[in-house]
């Protein structure tokens, strides 16, 4: 109830205005949305690339954070970043229980991820990416990330 009302309002607002580099791909239902983001400044790591984000909302959204992952498609790679696993799972405190605030929304998450990419200069994956991608069976929200790095 709360979730659907709020999502409808967010959608109305986003249709009226969206910051540059952020586009709505699909918002067919109120459970899963796809968004595209681009990095605006000329960061060579991300130039000419568009990345796709999948938002999954629980019934308790926005009290609970949505699940946000990058998804791969033919011309939508997973961006290089020391906090983004090659399966698209993002390690960002904003998306974790501790860092989430119900004041955030889809747009503000997109903006945060945009700036997380903008500020990065390392063409790297998180340490242990291979193992994590191979063996992780947990959903992103159930993973206990350790946020140790506040620089990127």
């Amino acid at each position: 109830m709360l979730a659907s009302k709020r999502l409808q309002k967010e959608l109305l607002k986003m249709h009226a205005h969206l910051p540059p580099g952020i586009d709505i791909v699909s918002t067919d239902d109120l459970k899963e949305w796809l968004m595209d983001i681009r990095v605006l400044d000329p960061n060579p790591l991300y130039q000419n690339e568009v990345y796709r984000l999948k938002f999954s909302f629980s019934k308790s959204y926005p009290i609970e954070a949505p699940e946000v992952v990058f998804v791969q498609d033919t011309n939508r790679p997973i961006p290089w970043h020391p906090h983004i696993y090659s399966n698209g799972i993002i390690c960002l405190d904003l998306l974790d229980r501790q860092g989430w605030s119900p004041v955030h929304n889809v747009e503000s998450i997109c903006v945060s991820l945009q700036s997380m990419l903008t500020g990065n200069t390392k063409k790297e994956r998180p340490p242990g990416d291979d193992n994590f991608v191979k063996y992780n069976t947990q959903r992103p929200r159930d993973i206990n990330f350790l946020f140790h790095d506040n620089s990127v």
Binding site: L2, K5, R6, K9, S60, I63, R97, S101
Partner: protein, 535 residues
């Protein structure tokens, strides 16, 4: 078979066992006083941790001196600990809140928040409060004076940032931080935090980046009564969670907490098994069911190893052999004994492991057991399989005791029946048939210990001490088997076996104590050599 499941289920069955035992005690309590004198309910004061700053109620004090007389000296494998009930924990929290509140001149609600914020380190709290009052209040989420009562307001032009509603007359709430949200969203937020996420002491304002803690006054104002109870419960929990020397009893539905002074860094030298009033024995270091004599880090390694390896290793051992030349593991999938290793093309006989060319024409029927090349190949194979066999040796014994302990639990259930039957058939009194229960308890406990001696032994490097250890292990093993066998005798023989059984029970317990004392003392003085690093 999944070894992890095995382990868990055995834990579970033990817990049930303990619970049964507990309920039994309470029946006895209600029955008459005589029973109480014979088997004093474990007094809270039995093992008092000396540095404890908790005042325990002296209700059971009558038994204290008795307990001391019975158990005058502590064994070296035992640690000091105290068990607390939820009421005692609450009481102690309140007394600390009162005490610190007086010093700081703050009301109880605020003091509680401050103490929780300081993770119940009152010295540090008082010190920092005296130095930087404003800063401490601010960081605990109590900035300025929190004296104004919280209230719900209707503000013109207000729009809630959570639900995006902006209709006029919307009721809203904000704490001192000024982050205002509609009452429905605020309530929803608190409910999710308390009910779904189990948070209590550190629920923050829903505003982005705001660190203000929702104080109990505001909370009382916003949440329903049944949620308040849960909130109080969670607050009590954080007290135990925050204190390093307190730990919840992990037994299902047990509400007691245990205090023990053993620190994490001492765990390589001590195995701090504690005994909750609910009857559950567990390790204070890792909360797993009692695993003496093996130290926590070995237990962790062992469980991991069993989970990863045991089934694969079992299968490999049962169904495969190694190529005598390149040691690749080979499974024979039927037919001829003439093996050709797919890797190195070595041709050999599956039966005797000798070179095939020496077999001549004796196809399918290996009669060349004494052939030199065959026995050499078998020797080499034996060597390379030794480590696998070594692991399985210990694992099988470990698993066997786990299994036997499970069976013993079934027997325990039958024991009760046996006890009442024995009372009827022999005219013995309830007290007189208690030897069966003591025997059953001894079996459980000794098997638990034996089980872990095998995990311990697996990591033990051989030195002079290990021989004594193995002798102790063997003695206990034999004592347990003897008692276990007697325990299964038909009812009509049990009466005549009573004295012998009591002797054997006492002997088992004694052997166990000897083994545990020896391992604990050597662990303390670092006399064991392990083939892994203890962390």
């Amino acid at each position: 078979m999944d070894s992890d499941d095995e382990f868990n289920s055995s834990q579970g069955s033990e817990d049930e066992f303990m619970n049964d035992q507990d309920s039994d005690v309470s029946i006895g309590d209600a029955d008459d006083g005589e029973f109480l004198v014979l088997r004093p309910k474990k007094s809270v004061n039995k093992f008092r941790w000396l540095d404890s700053d908790i005042d325990i109620d002296e209700g059971d004090g009558g038994f204290e001196s008795q307990d001391k007389d019975i158990k005058s000296s502590k064994h070296s494998y035992e640690v000091d600990f105290t068990v607390y009930s939820p009421e005692q924990i609450q009481e102690h929290q309140n007394s600390q809140i009162g005490e610190v509140g007086n010093i700081l001149g703050q009301p109880p609600e605020a003091t509680a928040i401050l103490l929780r914020h300081a993770r119940w380190n009152k010295e540090r709290l008082i010190e920092s409060y005296m130095d930087r009052t404003e800063e401490v209040l601010e960081s605990a989420g109590l900035g300025e004076s929190a004296s104004d009562p919280p209230k719900i307001e209707k503000i013109k032009g207000f729009a809630c940032d959570i639900c995006c509603e902006d209709e006029p007359g919307l009721e809203s709430f904000a704490m001192k931080c000024g982050h205002r949200f509609c009452v429905d969203c605020y309530k929803h937020y608190l409910q999710t935090k308390i009910k779904d996420e189990g948070e209590a002491a550190r629920i923050r304002c829903p505003g982005d980046g705001c660190n203000r803690i929702v104080d109990s006054k505001s909370l009382d104002f916003l949440v329903s009564d049944n949620l308040k109870d849960r909130y109080q419960e969670l607050l009590t929990r954080t007290y135990v969670d925050d204190k390093d020397n307190l730990r919840w009893c992990p037994a299902p539905n047990c509400e007691f907490a245990v205090e023990c002074g053993v620190k994490d860094k001492e765990l390589a030298k001590i195995v701090p098994t504690v005994h909750c009033d609910c009857g559950h024995f567990f390790c204070f270091g890792c909360s797993l069911t009692d695993h003496q004599p093996a130290p926590c880090s070995l237990v962790k390694k062992w469980l991991k190893k069993c989970e990863d390896d045991s089934e694969t290793a079992n299968w490999i051992s049962a169904n495969t052999k190694e190529c005598p030349k390149c040691h690749s593991t080979i499974e024979k999938n039927g037919g001829c004994n003439h093996m050709t290793c797919r890797k190195c093309r070595h041709e050999f006989c599956w039966m005797c492991m000798g070179i095939w060319s020496e077999h001549g024409t004796s196809w399918y029927n290996c009669n060349r057991f004494e052939e030199k090349s065959g026995s050499e190949a078998r020797d080499a194979q034996a060597k390379s399989r030794q480590s696998l066999e070594r692991y399985l040796h210990y694992y099988n014994r470990y698993a066997n005791h786990e299994q036997s302990a499970k069976l013993d639990k079934d027997i325990y259930l039958k024991t009760e029946k046996k006890m009442s039957q024995l009372q009827i058939s022999t005219g013995m009194s309830w007290i007189e048939v208690q030897f069966l229960e003591s025997a059953s308890q001894a079996l459980q406990q000794c098997r638990q210990t034996l089980k872990w001696t095998y995990a311990f032994a697996y990591y033990l490097a051989r030195n002079n001490q290990t021989e004594i250890f193995e002798d102790n292990q063997k003695d206990l093993e034999m004592a347990v088997e003897n008692l276990s066998e007697m325990f299964e005798k038909p009812i009509d023989q049990l009466e005549s076996l009573k004295v012998e059984m009591m002797d054997k029970t006492a002997y088992c317990n004694k052997r166990r104590i000897i083994l545990l004392n020896d391992t604990a003392e050597n662990l303390k003085s670092s006399n064991w050599e392990f083939n892994v690093v203890l962390s």
